[in-house]
Symmetry: none
Subunit: 414 residues, 2 copies
Amino acid sequence: MSAVSAQVSEARLWQRHEQLATIGATATGGVNRQALSAQDFVASRQLIQWGQAIGMHASRDAAGNVFLTLPGSDPAAPAVLSGSHLDSQPTGGKYDGVYGVLAALEACEAIHAAGIKPRRNIEVVAWMNEEGSRFAPGMMGSAVFAGARRLADIEPVQDSGGTSVKHALADAAVALDDIVLRPIGGQLAAYVEAHIEQGPVLERDNTTIGVVTGIQGKRTFQVTVQGEAAHAGTSTRAERRDALLAAIDMVQALTRRIHDAEDIVKFTVGRFTVTPNAPSVVPSSVTFSIDLRHPVSAVLRELGDAIAPICQQYAGVCEVTVKELSTAMSLEFPEAMRERIRAAARKLGVSHQDILSAAGHDARYLHEVCPSAMIFIACHLGITHNEAEAITPADAAAGARVLTEVLLELANDR
Amino acid sequence: MSAVSAQVSEARLWQRHEQLATIGATATGGVNRQALSAQDFVASRQLIQWGQAIGMHASRDAAGNVFLTLPGSDPAAPAVLSGSHLDSQPTGGKYDGVYGVLAALEACEAIHAAGIKPRRNIEVVAWMNEEGSRFAPGMMGSAVFAGARRLADIEPVQDSGGTSVKHALADAAVALDDIVLRPIGGQLAAYVEAHIEQGPVLERDNTTIGVVTGIQGKRTFQVTVQGEAAHAGTSTRAERRDALLAAIDMVQALTRRIHDAEDIVKFTVGRFTVTPNAPSVVPSSVTFSIDLRHPVSAVLRELGDAIAPICQQYAGVCEVTVKELSTAMSLEFPEAMRERIRAAARKLGVSHQDILSAAGHDARYLHEVCPSAMIFIACHLGITHNEAEAITPADAAAGARVLTEVLLELANDR
């Protein structure tokens, strides 16, 4: 272990996870900390307090992102950024997102404790609304930071209670009114995000560190099937235009066709809403969602493009509209960044392997503006977006040590 | 036309339909008036006001049924009852149910205007929750009145928002607190229900009056499919226990098997509810309704008994529970009652034909406690449980005239 990563404290890092988990704690052991909620502000405030205790400067931007800066000797040079998010799913766990923020803070603790002042600033970030649980879609803060979306695009989005992002951002300005406001975006030297795997691979393979090769692509669709309401007792089969029957034919045909023997394609109909949804009425319309993911962009493109024709083919006597809601092709992180992580793991004697991220992360957007990378640690049984989510203190510390080495090297890079 | 039925006012009857249609009116020309909702209470209140204006006495029972009594000369004799319901489907029309209530009131208007006091009381009734839309199953008020179900059986039933029938009946007691409470049930001389056909036969055959021979049988079921929630991006197809996919396999298999070449079987899945219904989560459970009808009781029994085995067969990696909610075999109204309707139509020179009711009606339960009958009028294209539902003012008045003759004859019967 190097002098600097020896300063990573497994106990402190673990205790901070436990402490943040009390903010928005659920009765059954999980966390419900919605983006820009009071709980989110309390968590941000705690993060800021920890950073300020070692001389880091806090700042925030108009998109609700919160930053802590460890000053370098050349503060005008583009900074090295690291972090993730503090918001959670409604029945989320203690580690998804939080780990990446606390590991980045722990790296700054270690560098500070080792008495090292790197050349570049190192910044810790907590991105706004990664989960997309309160406001859909997710990764809003990083998208706006990276210029993929404008602030004006996200401001009108409302939560289920009718509160807009704009209104919630005004809440943030009040809750964090003493924190310096900085411009959105800016030049960066690099971005590194640590995260729990959210899959079972590392645990199963008994590997400590996952060097993330990239993030699989995702296309989402909304399908609307229009039929006609009719009386369940009197309308004959020949007369009916049953939207439910047409919709299930579509879902079945899609499920049959959009898969592969290797079980790599991820095809999910998660939302399926029937109107008027009354026992004695033939359904007049159905709206359903499609979530399609595949690591190979060409395959994702081909499979996604097949959706509308298949829906049309199975519409029968109904009408169908297929709308693509979001498109994100597969991405690959730069090999040079991945090699830095492998080198750090080798230096520390920690096992590692390449791994693809099936889930989306803020690093998707940062990848568009600077050399980016991700470090995974094992996630027990791959259970996530679930209160039973679990990691080990040793894995958390190992990941933080690798991150410390990588961030310090990037910060001293010319 | 006789002196009494000449007093039926086509204009008044039509105007009252239009007026009730403003209570719970939808933006697209229909009605959403759920049982025991504020809209239902306003409609009941309007009905009561019209009845009281001609000296009828209002009362209600603990099952939420509302009555108006036209006093006879021998008020101790069992009354003649007529009516239907004021509740609607979520995107219902202006006539289903309402017509039977307003035609009965119009008959009382005519008898009152003709200066006739019949021997027996004539009562108009608006049954609680015929549609089964807010609380399943339907025909609750008439079932409790007839003793087919106990009040304690329906009280725990909840709507989709978690409000129980018991709680909603308490709302009714507040909304109609000045209306006299009467005991549930009681001796009746006869029951006659007027209703729109909800099928295309009378219109197609250019017949004014349908003499209803009976009601086809109906069995309703609730199917619950239990799987497991999982992350849409990371869980493989092999690992998933997708409740939606299992449920649609069941619905498809049921639809394929439960039908006949003659298109007599009516099989409908009208309600289909997915949990957690989130785009990025593999569905953990699905609950769906089955509405099965057939005029031949033996066939209904056989087809209904096949449902649970078919669901089990297609459950795959999920678990399935099939619960039968209601069972009603086919019934035939007494020929003597049917002949009274034919005789009245002949007397008035109105065309008529025998017809089977494919839809269920409150008359099903009243048939168990007193001689009952139903009078149908034409329904445009058979479109019903639909905002486009339509009848003509002339047909409405013709049906009310036949009803007037029949009710007066029954009320004067020894």
